[in-house]
């Protein structure tokens, strides 16, 4: 587009008092083509906005640079529609409110900020949303036909969309279909499972296409344009889908590993799943001889909350044992149930069912089983009774039920191994290494994604493909693919119903956003996407390896094959690319490079160091804003450059900055590591890793390593920001000015 650019400086909120606005407009814009430049005492007021709108209408202004408050406020006021580029230059929270007024350094800071804004506006283009060549589908592929899968399909249909349901067994229902009864909201009495009705509803729903005895052989493409190969009773079928819900459920923990609890040794020691199947089949009897049961003992956390087995809690087993105790009592009111537990975990209104189970006369014993044995044809269990403070022996038991936990269907029985990278420390003799759970090569086969980063969803440490984010439980490492139900997290039926509906919501939403070329969370609505200038690609594979969302495939010659509908627009690929060939319309290596180049570097004898701070817009930048709102003070020598994610940081910016005399580079990004807070999962960590390569640049320039520093800044760390900056400035002062100034 032909740009007609206007600059507006607001003099309100103390900006006019702190700065020489006339000089700012002159110095800050002189290197740029600016058609209109004005100041206004209250730009966000009705009259101020009117001035801008009038210039847009009368002068044909289509690029507006606003020197005023933070972009985080008045975003709606300064929105002039999709055809006008708006660039916000912060003169308030980062300048007028935190720097001494009418000061040379303050003025220079404002001028640099304006220059950077002008430079960015010059290089920014309006986004042109991605449109795939294929026709978009908004159908939802649901993998797994248990309670979560069936619910996801039904909810999708109720919202007017179509679903394709793939189940490996010959009938729908999953574990729900095997249960006798359920205990669910409102947790007063046992209830019918509703499985038959649910299966009938799915089968009757014309918007749902059901494939039983089927597996997903391959999913290629991306959101909106998934191509799904299904093997249906041996026949190959292809379907198209806009998004995917993985609801492949769970398997019980292998009780054969619990021989210390008598499983496999005594026939009358069974698992809760076997108990349920027996109850559903009709009568609960002793497996050893088919005789009726009088005394039953449930061992809770059998293998759960146990570092040797499953370290986590499966959250449903307490309720399940209480339910099964009820079956026993219903069958024989004189029967006695013992429940041996660590903690009873009936949260929410489910506490009501625990109360009922106690009132029904079931005996709860807090303690751990020390021995399960057999005497006189009956079982006994010895346990440390925590409340009595002594070892107790419960004898004459007909049945011992082990409340085993849930293992996600995605968890491999044996961790797969791959060829270790050259620098790996724990490779075996054959050079192989265990695949980590957060790899796409870890989980059991379910989706078979034709993705360069592996066929399955990356998982958390216990094999659940769940989100690591508390605020965003449907965040996923593979765009448009959402997990639901017990494969994601152990959960009871009431929660699985909601979780599946939520996953279906996300699936439909992803299809809708993709169809109009918009990104999904966390940059939802972003219409830019990375464009690759393939002429200069050196097939180094960094982009395909580093993309946190597996968006980029590779051909056999290692050329990247971007899948824009999988992209989350974080810019990690752009940061990774040594050839700088990856660009967004409003964010590119060249653009940020030019912004940094627009910063004036004073001569050494002026004794005014210059530091570039590349700052993540998700957490660190709002924290900086907050520090500004709190009127904290920091060095006027730092120039902040906003990053989509620190993972988009390209090392060339650091090299270029240092080679033109910038004294130091400060990087502010999110926490990484196990409890990472990076909204793009790996961005912050990758930036930190990339930094290790900065030493080459520094060595080449014969500069000190202290000139580049990475700091983790959380959104509430605003109190720490002045000190972080001051400490860094102190370091820069110690190492002295960059000798490349003036080159």
């Amino acid at each position: 587009m032909d740009k007609k650019t206007a600059v507006y400086i607001c003099t309100g909120c103390g900006i006019g008092d702190a700065l020489n606005v006339e000089q700012l407009l002159e110095e800050g814009t002189e290197e740029f083509t600016i058609d209109v430049s004005k100041d206004h005492p209250c730009l966000c007021g009705v009259e101020g906005v009117e001035v801008i709108k009038k210039d847009i209408a009368d002068e044909g202004i289509n690029t507006v640079i606003i020197g005023a408050c933070s972009y985080r406020v008045n975003y709606d006021v300064f929105n002039f529609g999709p055809d006008v580029i708006v660039e916000r230059v912060n003169l308030r929270e980062q300048v007028a409110w935190v720097m001494p007024p009418e000061d040379e350094n303050t003025q220079e800071l404002a001028e640099d900020n304006l220059r950077m804004g002008c430079s960015k506006a010059k290089d920014t283009q309006l986004p042109e949303p991605f449109k795939a060549e294929e026709e978009y589908s908004k159908d939802v592929l649901v993998v797994g036909g248990g309670i979560a899968g069936m619910t996801a399909a039904l909810e999708t249909a109720k919202a007017g969309y179509k679903a394709i349901l793939v189940e490996k067994e010959d009938k729908l229902g999953g574990f729900l279909g095997k249960m006798k009864q359920s205990v669910t909201m409102p947790y007063k009495e046992l209830a019918d499972t509703g499985a038959a009705e649910m299966i009938a509803a799915v089968e009757a729903e014309e918007k749902i296409k059901v494939y039983t005895s089927s597996t997903v052989e391959k999913i290629s493409g991306g959101p909106g344009i998934f191509s799904v190969d299904i093997k249906n009773n041996g026949n190959a079928v292809n379907e198209r889908a806009g998004a995917v819900v993985q609801a492949t459920g769970w398997v019980p923990y292998d009780a054969n590993k619990l021989d210390h609890l008598g499983y496999g040794k005594f026939k009358d020691v069974i698992t809760n799943v076997e108990m349920e199947e027996m109850a559903a089949a009709g009568k609960i009897t002793r497996p050893s001889d088919g005789s009726p049961v009088k005394n039953v003992l449930f061992i809770q956390c059998a293998g759960s909350r146990d570092p040797e087995h499953l370290p986590y809690c499966s959250s449903v087993c307490c309720l399940v044992s209480m339910k099964q105790a009820t079956y026993v009592k219903e069958q024989d009111p004189e029967a006695v149930n013992y429940v041996l537990y660590k903690d009873v975990r009936t949260v929410g209104q489910a506490e009501d069912f625990y109360r009922k189970a106690q009132q029904d006369g079931n005996i709860f014993i807090r303690g751990a089983a020390t021995e399960v044995g057999e005497a006189g044809g009956k079982l006994f269990v010895e346990a440390d009774d925590e409340l009595l403070g002594e070892n107790v022996k419960i004898e004459d038991l007909d049945l011992v039920v082990l409340a085993v936990g849930m293992v996600p269907a995605s968890k491999p029985a044996v961790t797969p191994r791959i060829k270790a990278p050259a620098d790996a420390e724990n490779a075996d003799e054959e050079g192989m290494i265990e695949v980590l759970p957060d790899s796409g090569f870890f989980a059991n086969s379910a989706l078979n994604l034709a993705y360069r980063q592996g066929p399955e969803l990356p998982t958390l440490k216990y094999g659940f493909p769940d989100s690591h984010f508390i605020c965003f439980p449907y965040e996923t490492r593979r765009t448009g693919i959402y997990s639901a139900g017990c494969v994601k997290r152990p959960m009871e039926t009431a929660k699985a119903l909601d979780d599946a509906a939520g996953a279906a919501m996300k699936a439909v939403q992803c299809s809708e956003l993709t169809a109009v070329g918009k990104a999904v969370h966390p940059r939802s609505g972003d219409m830019t996407y990375p464009e690759f200038n393939m002429n200069r690609c050196t097939q180094c594979k960094r982009c395909t390896e580093e993309c946190p969302f597996g968006a980029i495939n590779e051909d056999e010659k290692a050329n990247p094959l971007p899948n824009p509908t999988r992209c989350r627009r974080c810019g990690v690929c752009m940061g990774a690319c040594p050839e700088r060939i990856i660009s967004f319309k409003n964010y590119s290596v060249g653009m940020i490079g030019n912004m940094i180049k627009s910063v004036n570097v004073p001569e050494e004898d002026e004794e005014k160091p210059r530091v570039i701070c590349l700052i993540c817009e998700n957490d660190a930048l709002p924290a900086l804003d907050m520090a500004g709102i709190k009127r904290m003070k920091w060095s006027p020598y730092v120039r902040f450059v906003q990053m989509r994610c620190l993972g988009s940081m390209n090392l060339v910016w650091i090299a270029d900055s240092l080679s033109r005399g910038i004294d130091g580079i400060l990087l502010m990004g999110c926490r990484h590591g196990d409890d990472y807070q990076c909204h793009f999962v790996k961005g912050s960590e990758l930036a930190n890793t990339r930094l290790s390569k900065v030493s080459e640049t520094l060595d080449r320039l014969a500069l000190e390593s202290e000139r580049v520093k990475f700091v983790e800044v959380g959104i509430t760390d605003y109190e720490k920001i002045p000190k972080i900056i001051d400490d860094f400035m102190e370091t820069i002062e110690e190492v002295g000015p960059n000798p490349y100034k003036g080159w």
Partner: protein, 422 residues
């Protein structure tokens, strides 16, 4: 202000906490028009008052910031703060709703410069900090407040202070004659995400809350630990400002108790363990005792329990504390009960006690509103037979943030289905 046009294709979300924000965003991002109303002057609800989340110990503002950004760039959402539902009638696919807006006395010209607050002398109890400190009567609710706009407390509207605020504002943002107003909406579905209130700890009379200053609640503790809280993040005894040397967390304070809240609020165990980590971080010498009935750390949250148990300064004691009394001279608290593990009578003295009180749902309490199913505790039941108004988050069950968000996402879908059916 209320020039909002809606149709029976629109969705109303009541409550601007994490659940409401989520429902609104999820529906809007799928292409639906949404109106979000929140009674406080800011969005964010209870999570905005939290210092950190368990188990990651990360700041809730981080997620809120992302959500506010999603909201900023999405023209499908209109939101109103200081707004409540005054009336609602109709049925699925066609509800007529009247929204009442309380006067903020500050209009959208506010630039957040803070001069009104500087000029104002009158102070009011800071409700954001549960009254543990005071703020000026012209105030920003908290520094991450969204929308970022000041509020004038009604108490100074007719006073000299009010006039001073108005005079000092250079932008004409203060309108002392602002009055309560209403506007009407037509919507196809409603998501009720009005959240929860902490159980009133005064009702548990044997714990002396309200009588003994050093007995506080878990939500107060959260504010105390926040750097922007009443003590700038220091854990100090309310009675004398002394740093705590030993502190007790009393689990199930009023919960799992048929005289109070018969249900379990699901989050208090983890919240107390999290707060124990706050104390340890700030006061490494402080001894911590957590008195519990059962520790309920579901699924992988068990890892957090495992980690906290490794801390030698934190001991878990299985006991339902029967009584708290205060030593008047020192302000110290004597806790009495039975250690159910040893069977011994327990008498222990602490500087401070934190009551892990439960969640009470904010049910639909609007005269003449269509009937919405609820259980005996007031939690909304999403009855498929009475579709159209859906509960989301802690109005349905007491639960943590991740589950609330998942639930709110599902409720957004239910609301979309209501519209699709018409």
């Amino acid at each position: 202000m209320a020039d909002v046009q809606t149709t029976n294709q629109s969705i109303l979300v009541v409550g601007g906490g994490m659940s409401g924000i989520t429902s609104a965003l999820e529906a809007a991002e799928a292409g639906y028009d949404v109106v979000l109303v929140e009674k406080n002057p800011y969005l964010g609800g209870r999570v905005a008052q939290l210092y950190q989340y368990f188990p990651k110990l990360c700041p809730p503002n981080c997620g809120l910031e992302i959500n506010f950004r999603r909201m900023r760039q999405n023209s499908k959402i209109r939101f109103f703060t200081m707004a409540e539902v005054a009336n609602i009638s109709g049925s699925e696919g066609n509800y007529n709703v009247t929204i009442k807006l309380s006067p903020r006395y500050v209009n959208d010209k506010c630039t957040c410069c803070g001069k009104c607050s500087d000029a104002c002398e009158a102070e009011i109890d800071n409700t954001f900090n549960f009254g543990m400190d005071k703020i000026k009567a012209a105030y920003l609710p908290h520094e991450f407040a969204f929308p970022m706009r000041y509020v004038i407390d009604p108490s100074i509207v007719e006073t000299e202070d009010g006039k001073k605020c108005q005079e000092v504002c250079e932008y004409g943002a203060i309108e002392l004659d602002m009055a309560e107003s209403t506007f009407d909406l037509n919507v196809g579905a409603v998501v009720w995400a009005a959240g929860w209130n902490p159980y009133e700890a005064e009702k548990i009379d044997y714990y002396g809350f309200g009588e003994y200053p050093n007995v506080i609640t878990n939500v107060m503790m959260e504010r105390m630990a926040s750097p922007n809280g009443p003590t700038q993040g220091k854990i100090l005894r309310p009675s004398d400002g002394k740093e705590v040397k030993n502190i007790a967390f009393i689990q199930c304070a009023g919960s799992r108790d048929e005289n109070h809240l018969p249900y379990c609020s699901g989050i208090c165990c983890l919240a107390s363990m999290k707060q124990a980590t706050y104390v340890r971080e700030r006061h490494p010498d402080c001894d911590i005792s957590i008195f519990f009935i059962d520790i309920r750390a579901l699924d992988r949250l068990e890892d957090f329990y495992t980690k906290v148990q490794e801390d030698e300064k934190i001991q878990f004691i299985k006991s339902k504390i029967a009584n708290i009394s205060e030593d008047e001279a020192t302000g110290n608290l004597l806790l009495e009960g039975e250690n159910t593990r040893t069977g011994e009578q327990l008498r222990m003295t602490f500087d401070m006690a934190v009551l892990a009180t439960g969640m009470v749902p904010n049910k639909i309490d609007i005269a003449g509103a269509p009937e919405v199913a609820a259980d005996e505790y007031g939690f909304v039941i999403n009855d498929p037979e009475k579709a159209g108004i859906y509960g989301a988050g802690c109005v349905r069950r007491p639960t943590d943030v991740a589950s609330s968000v998942a639930d709110a996402t599902s409720s957004a879908f239910k609301a979309i289905q209501s519209i699709a059916r018409r």
